[in-house]
């Protein structure tokens, strides 16, 4: 591998010389804080944008949870937030309910857990952990953030238009999303949704290409692929998935735009709506579903893999043990990445797709359980005989393993097309994906924020508030999503404005109330995080260089955000990143920059 680096190193050295001067330069406010090309600043921009988006999406979920627990009850604050049009007398309007559900899903999946999670940690960790001065292209990286920002603004602006935002569910299946006559949300709101998502995809591609190129080409001397931390492997796999699948969403969205605006019939056929038959013939909504889920399923892993990568780092560091089965972890990650492209049909067992095709997807989907099981067991074995240091990041990582398992096992039910008939599109599914994807990814993201806060903002977050935040969040998260399984078993469909129109659901009121109460407490608990986050950003204790006694390269950078990350030459890597508690070593960690002792083996052999 080393010979790959000659070009890179020359480039880097060239940088070194110019660096001394660069540091002296006084950057303007705009080039430093706004149109920054520095990966550390871009990472912070992504994170803060994502935090704001997450708060908005979480508030939305509280509004619709109130309606579900106490349908028809009047709440002054619903009227105060939504006005007379959408919250007349304090009761949520059914159209607005669907809009909130849709935008909550869209923001959480794309803006928080894709843009926010990958954007923050790929930007922060890739140059730091592979030992690069910056991303391969700082300019494209800057564009990536600003496309993301523009896309976020457009998505939020759709909340303030006359007919309300898109409301056909985050999966925007046509014809519902294609026909303005079908619902209010399919008017201007849908157009804005489509524009916003197109910009989002541009952002994601610019970022993704950059991440891949940086990892493949800008690794420092000695940083072979098999010495890379698992966080980098995860971000690499994620970026590859994104680059291969997001373009399909562009085509999917483009054809929908054509159907909406140009009178084409890609997804439409034989429709009578608004008192007249439409001319469209020959299209099929099933085509849309194929295209959408061809992105949509890899997207699940785009959301999940960075969280798994972050947790791998955090669990290994804080167990003071090497991650168990490093190569198996890489292998299972690549297997998950590959399989994620050939399972999309499991979202479509009951859509009218040929049932034989369904059987093929059952097979491929259940295969994913194998690498997933390997990962879960490897995390648990990493804890075994460890010396666990309970940082808030470690707590969230253990929480992630728990939710990954708890939500993962119900996937075995849903992947089985036969059993899916019972619970498809019910709350059982809502419980499943919120636990396995939502909770796991957000726990991974929290773990990352607590763990790398010293590198992000050069200060430390409060530990005690971190503990409080974790335990409240963890308890409430299961309190919200676990009871939903039982709604699913009772046959309650998702995306219902209220269940009160069916006597058969009358005995489930207490489940909905418990869920909502946990949701409100859980949402308030995020106030603890927000306070800790913003307070520590400005007033937290100054961080030392390597607070967690970690091995990876980012902890060898100075405690200042300097352009080019390392003053002087780039560090040279001599070993993998998991030499924790290695027998014969003086400390319980050996940074990657420490040369191998005589007779010492690399990569876990000893």
């Amino acid at each position: 591998m080393a010979h790959d680096h000659t070009a890179t190193l020359e480039h880097a050295e060239h940088h070194d010389h110019s660096h001394a001067h660069d540091d002296e330069h006084h950057e303007s406010f705009v080039s430093k804080y706004v149109f920054s090309q520095d990966h550390k600043m871009i990472s912070r921009q992504f994170l803060i944008t994502a935090v704001i988006m997450a708060v908005i999406a979480m508030t939305m979920s509280i509004l619709f949870r109130m309606q579900l627990a106490w349908p028809g009850e009047k709440f002054g604050f619903i009227n105060a937030m939504l006005g007379d049009k959408w919250g007349k007398d304090g009761v949520l309007n059914p159209n607005m309910y669907l809009a909130l559900v849709t935008i909550h899903g869209t923001i959480m999946v794309f803006f928080v857990l894709t843009g926010g999670l990958s954007g923050t940690f790929a930007n922060l960790l890739i140059p730091y952990q592979v030992g690069a001065r910056d991303m391969a292209s700082g300019f494209l990286n800057m564009l990536s953030y600003w496309f993301f920002f523009a896309s976020s603004c457009i998505m939020l602006s759709s909340l303030f238009i006359e007919h309300g935002p898109a409301s056909g569910g985050w999966t925007i299946y046509p014809p519902l999303s294609a026909l303005p006559e079908a619902m209010d949300g399919s008017k201007l709101g849908m157009t804005l949704w489509l524009i916003s998502m197109t910009l989002f995809i541009v952002s994601s591609l610019l970022g993704g290409i950059n991440y891949i190129v940086t990892i493949l080409n800008l690794r420092t001397k000695g940083m072979t692929m098999t010495r890379m931390p698992l966080s980098i492997w995860a971000l690499l796999t994620t970026a590859i998935l994104g680059v291969l699948s997001f373009p399909v969403l562009v085509s999917c969205v483009l054809l929908l735009i054509c159907d909406r605006s140009l009178g084409t019939s890609f997804y439409l056929s034989d429709i009578y709506i608004g008192g007249r038959p439409l001319d469209n013939v020959g299209g099929s909504p099933v085509l849309f579903e194929h295209l959408f889920w061809f992105l949509g399923h890899p997207e699940v892993y785009i959301v999940l893999l960075p969280a798994l990568g972050i947790s791998s780092e955090v669990i290994s560091t804080n167990s003071r043990k090497p991650i168990f089965g490093y190569r198996a972890m890489i292998g299972s990650m690549l297997a998950i990445g590959f399989l994620s492209f050939i399972v999309w049909g499991h979202h479509m067992f009951l859509t009218g797709m040929n049932p034989f095709l369904g059987s093929v997807f059952v097979f491929t989907t259940l295969l994913i359980a194998i690498p997933s099981a390997v990962k879960a067991f490897n995390y648990i074995t990493t804890l075994w005989k460890g010396n666990i240091q309970y940082t808030p990041a470690m707590l969230f990582s253990i929480g992630m393993v728990s939710s990954f398992v708890t939500g993962g096992v119900t996937g075995i039910i849903l992947a089985d097309s036969t059993l899916d008939i019972n619970v498809h599109d019910t709350y059982f599914v809502v419980a499943h994906f919120h636990i396995v994807m939502g909770l796991s990814a957000i726990f991974g993201m929290f773990a990352g924020v607590y763990h790398w806060f010293p590198k992000l903002f050069l200060r430390m977050m409060g530990k005690k508030l971190g503990y409080l935040h974790f335990w409240l969040t963890f308890v409430c998260a299961y309190g919200v999503f676990f009871p939903m399984h039982f709604l699913g078993l009772a046959g309650v469909p998702r995306r219902y404005y209220t269940n009160s129109n069916f006597p058969m659901f009358d005995n489930l009121v207490d489940i909905n109330e418990i869920v909502t109460i946990f949701a409100i407490i859980g949402a308030l608990a995020q106030g603890v995080f927000l306070f800790n986050f913003f307070y520590s950003m400005f007033r937290g204790e100054k961080a030392p260089q390597n607070p967690w006694n970690s091995n990876t390269l980012e902890w060898t950078t100075p405690m200042a955000h300097i352009h080019g990350n390392w003053p002087g030459a780039l560090p040279t890597v001599h070993r993998w990143s998991y030499d924790y508690s290695k027998p014969g070593a003086e400390h319980d960690f050996i940074p990657q920059t420490v040369p191998l002792a005589e007779g010492e083996h690399d990569g876990g052999a000893h």
Binding site: P94, L98, G169, Y173, P174, L176, D184, D270, I271, P277, P285, P322, R327, A328, G352, P355, V362, L366, I370, A376, I380, L383, W384, K385, N387, I388, Y390, T391, I398, S402, T406, V409, I412, I413, S417, T418, I421, N422, H424, D425, M460, K463, W471, F474, Y478, P483, F486, L489, R495, Y496, N501, F502, P503, M504, D506, L508, I511, Y580, S581, D588
Partner: protein, 349 residues
Amino acid sequence: MKLLILIGLVLLIIAVHQLMRVIELSREFKKTKEWQITESDNTFNGKMMLTFMFVFFAFFFWQVDRWNDNSLPGAASVHGQKIDALWDYNMYLIIVVFLITNGVLFYFGYKYSGKKDTKATFLAHDNRLEMAWTIVPAVVLAFIIIFGLKYWNEITERSTDPNRLTIELYAKQFDWTARYAGKDKVLGSTDYRQISASNSVGMDTTDATGNDDVLIKNEFHIPVNREIEFKMRSRDVIHSAFMPHFRAQMNCVPGMVTEFKFIPNKTTAEMRKDPYVIQLMAGINKARSLRNEEPVEFDYILLCNKICGASHYNMQMTIVVDTEKDYSEWMAKQKAVKTLAVKTEEKSK
């Protein structure tokens, strides 16, 4: 009054600010920093892990105890009973995995919480262990896949029973229509361009096979122990015909005809006498009486399970499973649609 509140708020903010300054100043002098992890932190969180495990599992069993009897009654169709059996096996399996894996995770979190002067065991990998937890899930999954697909193929096979009853479920925003084929057992062809106020499902008025078709709203009847072949259509957007008691579900897609078949094996009257259903309905009626609502009796139901617009949450139809005799009597009372084709035929006579 407002002024007082304002002054109070300002004072509060000043107080909090001063308090924080004190905390910030005092931490300068401390030896261990607030963020540093001490042994007591580890012990505390280790114990919390164990406590959480017990609370979590207790919560799980509490929910099962409290809410499992709210679940749908056992399937009322032949294939549904097979699904239920398969469901149970899978569910037991995943519950065991869920309990063991979470249990081990939290127990390790407790057992190996960090202590001073302890060193972790350096263990990078173990091929035998890793092989074990690759192969065991693979073998278990093989069984799950084989059984799942066996049933899936049976369920989705085309209906070939000559004695079957064919019913079309026609969805639109926001109601259902059931169309029976009538005496000729052939559903008349359709043409969405002919939809009008008097032709709500878009029957092709030039096709005579549709003359005897019967359109039903609100409540449709099916005979017990006979194969029912459903053909689903939609007028406007995607809907989904979900008949949870029969374990039947299929999307209704504009431009396509989708299908689902099943054999109902319990009449509505029989279901109402089922002990599980009796306790289920008792719970429902108890909840209703608390809200001063009339008690209800058990009914099979068809509901929409794919987001279709503002009134998606209220798109339903009652299903009644009759004995063959009751069904024939009910059917005899229904009127055929008599499309345009009938009128032209009559005229030509």
